[in-house]
């Protein structure tokens, strides 16, 4: 269960972005999570809530976009859908696939109110 540490990283990055962009308050953090990221979306949502509870970020929403695994076949060079983590090209049967999506563990955006001075 490393999701709590991941949540803390996300909060730290968001806090730095708030300062850099002079946001007075934060409403939402957008995260992109690949199915192969090794991070469980429910555990992350739970950890984020736990980590922000009773803090200034308690009202911030964590928007998790889940990304399925996509790959390209190195043998026939076609897009190969990867269902249930079966890395075998449906077109030519090759096992030599390059993952193109699905490993993301990214912070995509933050949304908030710009401070008015």
């Amino acid at each position: 269960m490393h999701e709590l540490q991941i949540a803390t990283e996300i909060i730290d990055i968001a806090r730095r972005e708030m300062i850099d962009h002079q946001l007075g308050s934060l409403e939402e953090i957008g995260v992109v999570l690949g199915a192969l990221s090794g991070v469980d979306p429910e555990a992350l949502a739970f950890s984020f809530e736990a980590a922000t509870k009773d803090t200034a970020l308690a009202e911030v929403r964590l928007n998790i976009e889940q990304v399925a695994v996509e790959a390209r076949c190195n043998a026939c060079n076609r897009e190969a859908e990867v269902e249930k983590f079966v890395f075998i090209c449906p077109h030519c049967g090759s096992r030599d696939l390059n993952i193109t999506r699905g490993q993301e563990l990214d912070i995509a955006y933050v949304r908030g109110e710009v401070e008015t001075s």
Partner: protein, 222 residues
Amino acid sequence: MSTNIPIEKKVLSENDRLAAKIRTELTDRRIVALNLVSSPGSGKTSLLERTLETMRDRLQMALIAGDVQTENDAARLTRAGGTIVRPLITGGACHLDARMVSGVLDELDLSRVDVLFIENVGNLVCPSSYDLGEDMKVVLISTTEGDDKPLKYPSMFRRSSVMVLNKIDLLGTSNFDPERVKANALQINGNLKILEVSCTRGDGLDEWYEWLAGMVKAKKKR
């Protein structure tokens, strides 16, 4: 007024930055770095014990033994001898990260080292997200586990380059099917190199040692 600020940054970018630094240093020193991962009890420490004992005259080995608590593994490995062994106690964390490894490496004399083993915390989930600057991950699985484990933990098996199937001396005592575990693993990762060993009886270990020696030789050439 509400504004959207695009970031497009990896959550673990700080870890990845440190890992890249470790990788550069180890590559400059021509050190092979292996990150050993598995469930608790698959035999990471046993494999390392045998390796340190057998290969101590051929290779200079350094070892970082990660554990949530206790220095027991590090003590076992120190007894196997002839090498630099350092414990890395995470104090609760379920995985090693690049910052922890970097802290230990700073205190090690790497000048004559050929191979660095990093024994991760026994866990097939969390360590998969953290690059430690290794050349590759070596995943262990033993015949006392379920043969569908590669399917349950695809992220780890996909990110590993070698799978060591341990405890083959116990085959036949459970319904574990070695052909099925290999098929499952190759379905996740067709490039996985698979070695079958018994760390207690010694089966298959020569192949592991030769593979290891080959890795060291290849890295020196680069």
